[in-house]
Subunit: 598 residues, 2 copies
Amino acid sequence: MKPFDTEEIRFLLYDVAGADRFFQVPRYAHLDRETVDGVLDSAAAIAERYFVPHYRVSDACEPEVVEGRVALPPEVAQACRAYVDAGFMSVQQGLDEGGMQLPWSAAMGVAALFQASNISTQAFLTLTSAAGNLLAAHGSDEQKRRYLKPMREGRFFGTMALSEPQAGSSLADIRTTATPNDDGSYALTGTKQWISGGEHELAENIVHLVLAKIKGAPAGVRGISLFIVPRYRVNDDGSPGEDNNVRLVSLLHKMGYRGITSTILGFGEKGECRGWLVGEPHHGLKYMFHMMNEARIGVGLSAAALAYAGYRYSLDYAKTRLQGRPVDGKDPATPMVPIADHPDVRHLLLRQKCYAEGGLALALDCAAFCDDAEVADDDTVRADAALLLDLLTPIAKAWPSAYCLESNSLAIQVLGGYGYTRDYPVEQYYRDNRLNPIHEGTNGIQGLDLLGRKVSAGNGRALQLLCDRIAATVAEAKGVTGFELMASQLERACARVVDVTGQLLQRAGDPKAMLCDSSEYLAMFGHVVVAWLWLRQALAAERALQAGAGVREGYLRGKLDACRYFYRWELPRAMSTADILVVPDRTVLELDIEGMHP
Amino acid sequence: MKPFDTEEIRFLLYDVAGADRFFQVPRYAHLDRETVDGVLDSAAAIAERYFVPHYRVSDACEPEVVEGRVALPPEVAQACRAYVDAGFMSVQQGLDEGGMQLPWSAAMGVAALFQASNISTQAFLTLTSAAGNLLAAHGSDEQKRRYLKPMREGRFFGTMALSEPQAGSSLADIRTTATPNDDGSYALTGTKQWISGGEHELAENIVHLVLAKIKGAPAGVRGISLFIVPRYRVNDDGSPGEDNNVRLVSLLHKMGYRGITSTILGFGEKGECRGWLVGEPHHGLKYMFHMMNEARIGVGLSAAALAYAGYRYSLDYAKTRLQGRPVDGKDPATPMVPIADHPDVRHLLLRQKCYAEGGLALALDCAAFCDDAEVADDDTVRADAALLLDLLTPIAKAWPSAYCLESNSLAIQVLGGYGYTRDYPVEQYYRDNRLNPIHEGTNGIQGLDLLGRKVSAGNGRALQLLCDRIAATVAEAKGVTGFELMASQLERACARVVDVTGQLLQRAGDPKAMLCDSSEYLAMFGHVVVAWLWLRQALAAERALQAGAGVREGYLRGKLDACRYFYRWELPRAMSTADILVVPDRTVLELDIEGMHP
């Protein structure tokens, strides 16, 4: 059972997100559906051949330090090599740089295949791409030559080193210090924690992008600068040279995501650790956050990809595992039926489908907004897309992190006792997915971001733009037989989001009261957005069915079923949350924390 | 940080479940609060000294077969010895048998302490107790002498061997066969799977209680008999003798619950495996299910105990971990605050408290019904308690399994990246707890049991009895200042459960349609029951506060906060589910399963 399906990605990319519109833009004029499909097929082949087989292995054989070096199963290096050789480190890079020059949406479609296949191994690679993109945007030509080029070639790998032991979500409080040297470099001292891919032997060098404070910098986030800190200093000929005194303090042992090293790194503890400033001093966080929308949507996508993998596995299991008989025919002399015949198992499968494919649709749609924001030829379209992207990013990160994790739990439930053993992959999907609500800004941070900043961005224009989009879908759905009720449900739900938002923003004079339920607000908002995406999926399926679907008929009808399921079982719960949110309550704010246990 | 608190158990046991009423009954006349408190304190001391310290160890050092024997960390045997020596194997046994002769409710209070401390190690012991209770109820005098006595003494351990590889939830389809021997014993052949504690060296012998079909037995569940199948045959002098050919086929490697062996056992593969019939032929399932209420409530209790352990740990962490600043005072020059000050973290803590303490209250209340059903001196009280117990058992099993698992996920979220590492216990609580929705009847099975059987039991008398109890709580709450709104909320919720139940039962002509959403029905019903238990907790706290609480004031106010939280955030969601349930929908029933993916 393959953990992914390129057909699903294509449906979401083209039929739902309409991402083939970018092939009309000059930058992507070299592309058409056929080319991109070829890229997806090639990614699928590499993922299936090199990434899937060692998913269990790299979980069971966790990274360990052997003779001072981090040892990983050899399959990890082989998979990385195959990925780099096939050009996937440069899917977005320009043709002139030897890249594939794909839009971000298509690149995310590709990423989902690798994420579903082996989340840990792909993380080494996408971290390197992300660090590379940051250098491409903000590095000097010299820095690009020295660091970015070998990263694109897969000779150097990259990391993002933000958090510290005492400062996870609170970057204002980082303590890593950069002291200027005479030669323009800086001497770095400090400790970073949770650095994924922070140490390994998969590449000739590791380029850490490190947030630090230059001595005398302003307090808080306005005093943070960004530095390139290589594991080995890079000689002028591009070869790795002297050790740069980045020390592996320890490997962290996680519940899941075990295939990639998570590290504590010490900078400059014994000898000088040199860093090179990226861009201007004190602008580090801005540069880092320039990439944050992409990083957060990537987290949401990976959560959805893991849910999708679990959904596929458990669906296949449910269709073949015989157990019990229908409730209306319990004669033990009759043959047992596949468990997929039991309504309760169907609930478990449909909820997974709703969450997994809803999450994938959300991430890919956001990726398309990201492309619009960059390449659309109309200024307004670009600006509007950027606003929509900003608005939806916290949802695209947090909603799949929460519901697609739940989806993986449902996959275990379908397999029962088998699902609880490590002989089946569903428990690993679940363990791996549990990281997603935590990293790249916890889901709590996303709620604060959404309600505290994003919904009021552009004086509410972002929210209005979203409502306009939803209204367009509603208008279309109202004209399609069988869609009328769902259309009105979504229309009311959208109006309710606007209403709730308005009521909460009226509490702006008391920020604590306004923001104290922001996670619940995000969950409610997220369900409405995903309901919108499900209606778009169902409309796309209905259009295709009307046009004559042939062999895809079953697949398309499955989309209609899942959409109906979401509107029956999921969307009403969001409305229930909305009813709660508008009633002010100070229990949480006035809680006596000492009373919480004796 | 202790993972349990005897004060909490006492509050739920006495102030909420009123379980001190049993001290008035002749069988428990030797007890009073002080005695039982002493037992709880002694259990707490042993749990803290012998069970807590190796919780991580026995997860990390999973059982393995070494030279043909299952090796466990030595701490497991030490803990079992301490437990047996202190008499906890016989908490419910009569004084005349050397037991403590506690009511089941008090025994469950004790069990919760061990479950919170080390779920795997206590499972070896409670499985032995449960198997012993089954023999005590249905075994012959000879069987009690030969098997039960050494089990009570902790010399022999026990298992329950029901499931088979092809028959997990569907016991009608078990294939293990028993062929009569001339001496009255049976020769067993077959394979059992998921047998917890199926092999180890913690005791001199292992007494497997095995469901099997006697050759020629009727098909289905009416042809199942129960057998004693010892690992070693027991000599007349009580010593373990000849090997009985129960072979360890393999150890299962699970996501959690790793400290106890989960096994596949082969019976009679190479030599004769002898079993001795318990009770009458073909009545095995009845005997086994005689203990099923207790077993299922035990699962719910363990889910709640794990949630409670995680809640306590994360609460303690949140009070000491400094991070960030209030949303209305972000000056980085001001000191960081404990994360428990952030409203979003408070949500995570309050939800845990609601789920964990709600789950504990539910299990202990059911245990008290179990005691009523056995020892109340009034026939009607006994019969009514038995009906209530039957009704609530599927909820007591499934509700905590679902929501207390979620609670453990919230504990991880409070700790952030730290919570995701194995250096902190919260991820293990979560992994361990994931078993609970699966074993002793999956949660889906519980939903079918509740809606398919229990709510119509006694022509609806069970449900009526529950409503009467709830009405009494509502009546009390209406008279207490500050409780009026919650009282009406619960009143309406209870009426809604009755209404929904009636509407669903009207579909009885089409069992599939009636039962297709039974898990959602159980979740809705469960939330209302737990809301009732929360109101009772709050009323008990309010009474204590009125009486002058002294040092307990903070604790009691915490109960009021959590109750308000449950009524604000949780109960309305159940009402939303109720609204969905009453609208018939055939999406799930008519689903084209082949269309679920291409």
